[in-house]
């Protein structure tokens, strides 16, 4: 392992992503990406009594799906990195408590999946572990309950609001494998440009995305053309637009090959999702379902994933605090 520039780490022995899995909720199943997910749920409870239990079940079943897809069992996994949006990351710890894998709870808001994969890849590259499990989940109903209003309340959502993705994603990183490989990671800094509107997460997180993006290029000496796709987590339509502008302003033009998972997840016109998708499972499921398969099929060869997160909670919003953003980058090559 080698440090490049200020923040980037180059993995001398690239870590392979063995396989991924994802399960999504009913609204996501009606979206344009439905065909790429492993399982689409018909209702948000999935036979459970509460949304929190449903979310735990989704992450648990996603990990089980991943085990059967990859032919591995939990005994062959050395460590697990997982997190979600619910207080104290209960979806992950409750959902994965029966796996018997040494567990690290990770919180990076919606960037959690990328953060877990950053940490997991370092563990694997250092020789401390052979196989690492990374997982994350989010649920529209449990997130609304914790961060906003009760679901049955008859209020209106502003055009800048985003729709929390119901679902979970998981991946296995390994020292042994045929790729795609994680070659570089660029952990991001906390960036806060003073946005206080909890209904405009894209604008709050876009500066963090751009900061990590520019730093990654400075550290590695690469340009946007090096990658087939640059992927942000859940900036949504407004955040994507702002991020493109901010990057251009700093002399980096990403317009040509830039995608946002929040934009890809839903059909804005027919699904009434305003500025797009958000939540841990937004980047998680689009990466696991779509981009990973594109890499496997060699339709894409080099991608830069930068998942974004808004590091706030309901109390900080009520106290008028601004929303700090974070973004972690993974350079993945076939």
């Amino acid at each position: 392992m080698k440090r490049l520039g200020n923040q980037t780490i180059k993995l001398d022995t690239p870590v392979s992503i063995l396989n991924t899995a994802c399960i999504v909720g009913p609204k996501e199943s009606e979206g344009p990406m439905a065909q790429y997910f492993d399982k689409c749920l018909e209702d948000e409870f999935w036979g459970e009594e509460t949304w929190e239990k449903a979310e735990s079940k989704i992450i648990k079943e996603t990990v089980n799906t991943l085990f059967s897809k990859s032919g591995l069992s939990s005994k062959q996994i050395d460590y697990c990195f997982a997190g979600d949006l619910l207080n104290q990351c209960i979806s992950s710890s409750f959902g994965l408590r029966e796996t018997n894998i040494p567990f690290f709870g990770v919180f990076g808001a919606c960037s959690t999946f990328a953060e877990s994969m950053c940490l997991g890849s370092l563990f694997a590259a250092s020789g401390a572990a052979t196989n690492i499990l990374c997982a994350t989940s989010s649920h529209f109903c449990s997130a609304e309950k914790q961060f906003r209003f009760p679901l049955e309340l008859g209020n209106q959502r502003p055009p800048s609001s985003q729709w929390t993705v119901t679902g979970a994603a998981a991946s296995i990183l390994s020292c042994n494998g045929q790729g795609p490989f994680i070659t570089h990671i660029t952990p991001g800094k906390i960036v806060d440009l003073g946005i206080t509107d909890a209904n405009n997460m894209g604008a709050a997180m876009a500066p963090a995305f751009v900061d990590t993006l520019i730093t990654h290029f400075q550290d590695t000496g690469r340009t946007p053309d090096y990658y087939d796709a640059i992927i942000s987590g859940d900036l949504g339509y407004i955040g994507k637009d702002i991020a493109t502008d901010l990057a251009k302003n700093k002399g980096v033009n990403i317009q040509k090959n830039y995608y946002d998972c929040g934009v890809l997840m839903f059909d804005k016109e027919t699904q009434d999702t305003h500025s797009g998708g958000s939540g841990c499972a937004c980047f998680g499921s689009i990466f696991s379902g779509y981009f990973f398969k594109q890499l496997q099929e060699s339709k894409l060869k080099k991608i830069l994933c930068i998942a974004t997160g808004a590091l706030m909670n309901a109390t900080s919003s009520q106290q008028g605090e601004s929303i700090p953003g974070i973004a972690h980058a993974l350079s993945i090559e076939k």
Binding site: P150, E152, Q156, P159, A203
Partner: protein, 148 residues
């Protein structure tokens, strides 16, 4: 796009980039739905008077009926759709108040009847009650001192 160096410049830029809510459309829908709900109330009121009830009893029946109807529609997952369409049109009449109590009661049922339903029922309507009752007391005192 100009250079962004301060939080103020970023905030101004974000304001420019963020689309506004469709105010005219929202106002129009709020106007007619709000008017429609009030008309239902008036019809119930007139019918009660037609049946020979005095106006105080008729008003009480109007409130009870609208609250009951709103609670029922909330439970049936219909009121949130009306609220999304009509905004203040369904929020400002007594129907919105009923919805704001029933919605958290349903949401927090999973935390039990005491710490869930009982404790969280007024999380949305609580401020309305506190400031509504406080200001009525204040107005009452002023009216007693200076008018009566």
């Amino acid at each position: 796009m100009q250079n962004i160096n301060t939080q103020k410049e970023y905030s101004d830029y974000v304001d420019k980039k963020t689309p506004n809510s469709p105010i005219l459309k929202n106002c129009f829908n709020a106007f007619w739905v709000g008017g429609f709900i009030c008309s239902i109330g008036q019809i119930i009121f007139d019918y009660c008077e037609y049946l020979g009830l005095d106006s105080t009893s008729s008003l009480t029946i109007v409130s009870i009926s609208l609250i009951g109807l709103s609670a029922l529609l909330t439970a049936l997952n219909i009121f949130n759709k009306i609220g999304k369409f009509a905004g203040a049109g369904s929020l400002v009449p007594i129907t919105g108040f009923a919805n704001s109590i029933v919605a958290p009661a349903m949401e927090y049922k999973s935390e039990g009847y005491v710490m869930g339903v009982g404790a969280k029922m007024f999380t949305v309507a609580g401020p309305v009650l506190v400031y509504g009752i406080s200001s009525s007391i204040l107005v009452g005192i002023i009216s007693k001192l200076f008018i009566a």
